[in-house]
Amino acid sequence: MSEMGPVQMRSPVLNVRRVEAYHSITIVAPGIADRFRPGQFIAVAVGGEQSSMLLRRPFAIHDVKPDYGGTVEFLFQARGPGTAWLAERRSRDLVDVVGPLGRPFPLPRDPVNCTLVGGGSGAAPLFPLAQALRRRGCRVDFVFGADSSDHLFGIITARRAAATVTCTTEDGTFGEHGRVTDVFERVLHETSADAVYACGPMPMLREVSASAARHALPVQVSVEESMACGTGMCMSCVIPVVGEDGITRMVRSCVDGPVFRGEQVRFDDAGTIPFDALGAPGWKSPDEETGYGGSTREAG
């Protein structure tokens, strides 16, 4: 039970509010607020004790405040039954939460120019990152993209924290018509970016990483792989990542990530086991499987 590891607690809900197309929940969670570093996430149990939904839902931490000993805010879209249940919480309800989890965004030593790129709800963790960067004297520029204007949030806060804020929407209802990747390189030039941080869907992260690489800029991406535990125990959240030694490994995005160096993530091979990954079939010992009579089960 390491000193600064994650904690599990039953946290009272302080408030729930709508933020455009999202719901924002703030909980009182001093232990989590204390330990938090930007880029980390929490895993929230949904549905109550007798719930049929066993797995925790992961959410990026959007904000922490010192009030009540420490509060944590996260922001989410009601998609399936778990987020629908969360959206119905009221203040004083208790939620069972584990955090902070995952590898945070590494911060530059020097006061450099940082471009932060967020797609949809992926913008959430970039706000505390921006604060931390500014405390180090960095210049921050935001690029936000979403399907439509109601999927953008925090623009006013962003404008206070950043030198520039550039928005795109796919339907053109706010900012520029198009995708973040359409404007990203222009922003890099205009802001003389030294470093890039990105959070959002995989295709966006792939393109942002590729652009940054073309400009020889370091890029940190936060991936959103489907997770069962969030704590590194289940091995369900793996993506292929190239290590310092040049070897590709299937690494857990919950504990080895969710933040990775962009050039290390093999985006094109996500959802596969690349043939050259450590322990891939054929890599050393072939993974023989018979097709006999049906489905395979977890056997490992």
């Binding site: 069962a228 535990c229 369900s236 086991i273 322990g279 023989e288 395979t296 490992g300």
Partner: protein, 314 residues
Amino acid sequence: MSTDLRTRLGRLELANPIMTAAGCAGTGRELARFVDVAQLGAVVTKSVTLEPRAGHPAPRMAETPSGMLSVTGMQGPGIDVLLERDVPWLRSQGSRAAVSIGGGSAAEYAELARRISGASGVSMIEVNLSFPNPTGRGQDFADDPEEAARVVHGVRSHARSDIPVFAKLAPDVRNVVELARACVDARADGFSLVNTVRGMVIDPGKLRPAVSGGGGVSGPAIRPLAVACVYNVHAALPRVPIIGMGGVRTGSDVVEFLAAGASAVAVGTVNFADPSACARILRELTEALDEHGVSSPASLVGAAHRSARVDAEQ
């Protein structure tokens, strides 16, 4: 009442009957951030193979009602790294390490047992028989009593005699008792019951399997299947120790498995849902023993068989 949680699994003594299930507590380090692993009966490591394995491509899991479907495809570092890195770490924490093994042939299983016996620090070998058998007529070794027995026999022959060998079986076989008998005849020292149950989830939007090829269902959803297996195997082989598992979530679930005939239980999927579950379950178990007015878990082992006999006699 002062409770004595010490638990015997054949020759092996554990501090208490709460273990972790293979593949459900990482290497132990991940769980250790939430639970003092030294306070558990034992930590069972994820099934390991001879060589490192990259496993199954993502997505590897889907939620199911009161359970989950998963397939990791035995991702792991291979036996040598496990013995050099993970087992010593567990020992350094004061924790008992049990190693689960899997292979593509009886010879591979035997070789794994040999290497484990060459190292130190391993308290038990768990033989995961739900591994695809490339040559047998069943899909997994566990689908055919003869094949399963061959694997168990090889492991028992190559393992150091003081390391107990437990055979791990799944409930979705024609007859789990028949399989269990075959394993005992092959000198298994005990059983781990149960592994996951074959299942599939299809994404109703994408119209394709959420986990390609399907996977194993675990969690509270399968608890009644697991309890039936434990009950039936204990009825047939009352002297063979059983580690019960499948959806253990609370202390009262532990009581259910003990009463069915398990001597210890392992917590699996619920660790994902509630990372401090093992510690809570241990507390709840102590309270439950108190309520039953017994001082040790052993007093409850097989209790449901005794009450069934009393009923039958009346």
